[in-house]
Subunit: 264 residues, 4 copies
């Protein structure tokens, strides 16, 4: 019997407490809505973590037992502790999957993994978004129609300054005239990363059935069961242990200089 | 008449002063050897900058007047000031080309732009490296033979934990049994990035004719003449200015929450 | 003094002769309009070729003297001779640039180079298309605004069944609700390929200034000056000529079987 | 209970019958050895098909019931019927996985899907090949060591004229001095494609445990359970059925010209 994929649903969890309307849309928080959708199917066990918990709910132990992390943040990106950012990024490199949602594009975690500003232009007008599946054979598009609509969404417009993805899965059409690459895949180290655009806090996006399907697909796609801790090192391979016999020759770096190296 | 490509050749410049042997191989520093090779052809004007200069020689003015930056560092990556790292990365996003050399794989600038640890395994044995051109139509391979050899080099072995590149240009064979993807292209923001593996400080790699050809090709490839400063912003597009007329509707984020945003 | 880039503008040239309206829009044919725009700037010399010329105007000599070929076809894809298709593809593999326009997505040349059906869905309603630059640092986007519009265009909708490109340069928004990846780059063998969506025969697209800018940029991007004829072969490297000395060992394929091989 | 992945292992099956030595190494043919290894684990059911069967063993029915096809061919690529080549390619576009092995790089099926000559240089000397995992988080590398060796193999050397892959999984080191990108992933239409280099007929490669692990991983990676037959069409979307209401306007293509179209 195979083990469930262990998902941690991370949320900033501020808007839902600050704003009565948003609180009504997400009475258990955005994280609550996402986790409920993931737990509704076999093969996934989701728990949650939020910004204001100790260590933002992302202790070493939590991350060690997380196969896939989802990330929603917006107004408090700057409050996320650098040490936790580093910890999350390291776990991604070791093989944890990461699904970055909507305004999470400006999170320290995502910008750091992209090596990019991840900018875009935006408008909050409750306009119609239509997501087209441009890569129908991709696992993240499984079971989806040719397109699906979110009647009320915030607009994000191109250019989205992120690296060219491994694959583009969705492209959005907006009522006001913009387009956006709304589903993008990456790998960093051994970890799979998926960016998914929709999910503005003032709209009920995370109660949408197609969005739920995308998230479940993305969790299954991002999961890979191994921890590649060895990738965190840059080891020396001694000459005597070379696979093919070689002899040391030529000039060598002096011991003093080696002392300054930052390889390992 | 077109203007020359303005290159800044950056070097840590420690090994050459600390180690007599290395100083003999590079009497003008590694930067001196690289700049000399670039200045030898029409269309490129190269100057140099080094770690121990004020602001590491990379003032706002220097970077504003740099089209392509080359980066060599090794023992003192940690001494590079975070503010300068940020400045360089921002200029790359705006469109400055970046050529990262050899042990520069572990520089803060490169790791930050890759969003990756950029680890590998290594051996300093003066062994033979043979670089195969795997992408003969790529501009960086222009004028090169099917392969070229460096009789004495440090070994870098896979896995090299960097993102899948836009294109792989070179793959290296090492005498001791390893392989390495030695020439990789990326774009971050509007800036082109090329990583080129060879160039250990104890060997005369930067005096090699084929290496010189690669560097000149890479400068020409990485150059793009515009400064895309607007990509550094994430502007709001007001509803009233939407390209296609739309009406505002649905819930809005409260002013208090907007105050916390970090979009722009 | 550098030599001009030699462009051959290929056109099916049927609609303009069959349909009075189209003939008025393109009195010199679509090829005439494209070639005129390319010849208007320094550094490019464009000539034309059309389907009904002998060998479709694409003799061995014409192709040998073509650095970049542009391709427009629609109603007569099936009439293009297989031998000419093979000839064009081979020249691309050797390094000739190829720019495929609009309904050229269903040409034998393009489908063959993509290894894909290159399907899409479509509508001819004279609707508005807005092309967004999603990759502002790409050479093909040089000098363009953030977006540009074609007030009357045919709609092409996703999914566009082509391989994931090296880079996506443009994404289109359509008035009727669709999106399309309108500017895609590829390399096949040593040749650069750019697919550019707009250009329906019933609209004056090839008289648009931004479209002209894209085509000139694309020609400059696709150009690479060398002919890589050696890539057309799969040569044996005899054991005695191995770079590193090795001894032949193990079982060998019998001569009879080698006779059947299709390597070279 | 989930259904097994249905694999068809295709083999030319000529060398094993023509050459006594090869026949001893593969008494049940190369296909027999591969199928046996796949059938040894839960979740995969493999059957075989060979060139000299009617329709090369690849009837419409067989392909309709194949989730993943593996392909080994060498001396008789030219004998593979064009109609079967078209049939296989169409099934890949619809979503069938394809694993192309060793000299299958020159098969009509693979060259057609790559849109490339897929050339390389080669040497049959029974030399040592060492495959390095360059992408340890990729599902095809699951459970493998950092590298594995095949003591006797044919050499394939770069440049391998195939498109830049989605991801590079393996790079090979050869004793005679060459390198090769030995594991490459692609998607064409909805179908996943993996090229895997080793497997010369005169050596016992398909009895190697690591090679078996790669093949099982590749089958699991290439599998996607849906048939995307709709991608084989390029349908018209009538104006009256546009998602967003639009009015037809501008010039229209005459009926005579539409008659010549090859869209659908």
């Amino acid at each position: 019997m195979s083990q469930d994929i262990r998902v941690t649903v991370w949320n900033e969890f501020r808007h839902e407490r600050n704003d009565e309307e948003i609180g009504k849309t997400y009475p258990d928080g955005i994280h609550g809505a996402i986790a409920e959708g993931l737990n509704a199917i076999d093969g996934i066990t989701a728990r949650t973590a939020t910004l204001d918990e100790p260590e933002h709910g992302l202790t070493e132990e939590v991350l060690a037992n997380t196969d896939v992390l989802t990330w929603w943040g917006h107004m408090a990106h700057r409050e996320v502790d650098e040490a936790i950012v580093d910890r999350v990024q390291k776990r991604v490199w070791e093989g944890m999957g990461l699904i970055v949602l909507h305004s999470g594009h400006h999170s320290k975690v995502f910008k750091g993994l992209m090596g990019s500003p991840a900018n875009l232009h935006w408008r909050e007008a409750g306009e119609r978004e239509r997501l087209w599946v441009v890569n129908p054979g991709h696992p993240i598009a499984k079971g989806l129609p040719a397109y699906f609509e979110l009647e009320y969404e915030e607009m994000y417009g191109e250019p989205f300054t992120v690296p060219e993805p491994l694959e583009t899965v969705f492209v959005s059409w907006f009522q006001g005239g913009e387009v956006f690459r709304s589903g993008l895949t990456y790998r960093r180290g051994a970890g799979n990363i998926f960016y998914f655009r929709p999910g503005h806090e003032t709209y009920p996006t995370y109660h949408d059935a197609n969005v739920g399907q995308v998230l479940r697909n993305a969790v299954n796609w991002a999961y890979q069961g191994d921890r590649h801790a060895h990738l965190m090192k840059a080891p020396n391979t001694p000459v005597a242990e070379a696979i093919e016999a070689i002899e040391e020759r030529g000039a060598k770096l002096s011991a003093a200089d080696h002392a300054g190296e930052v390889k390992s």
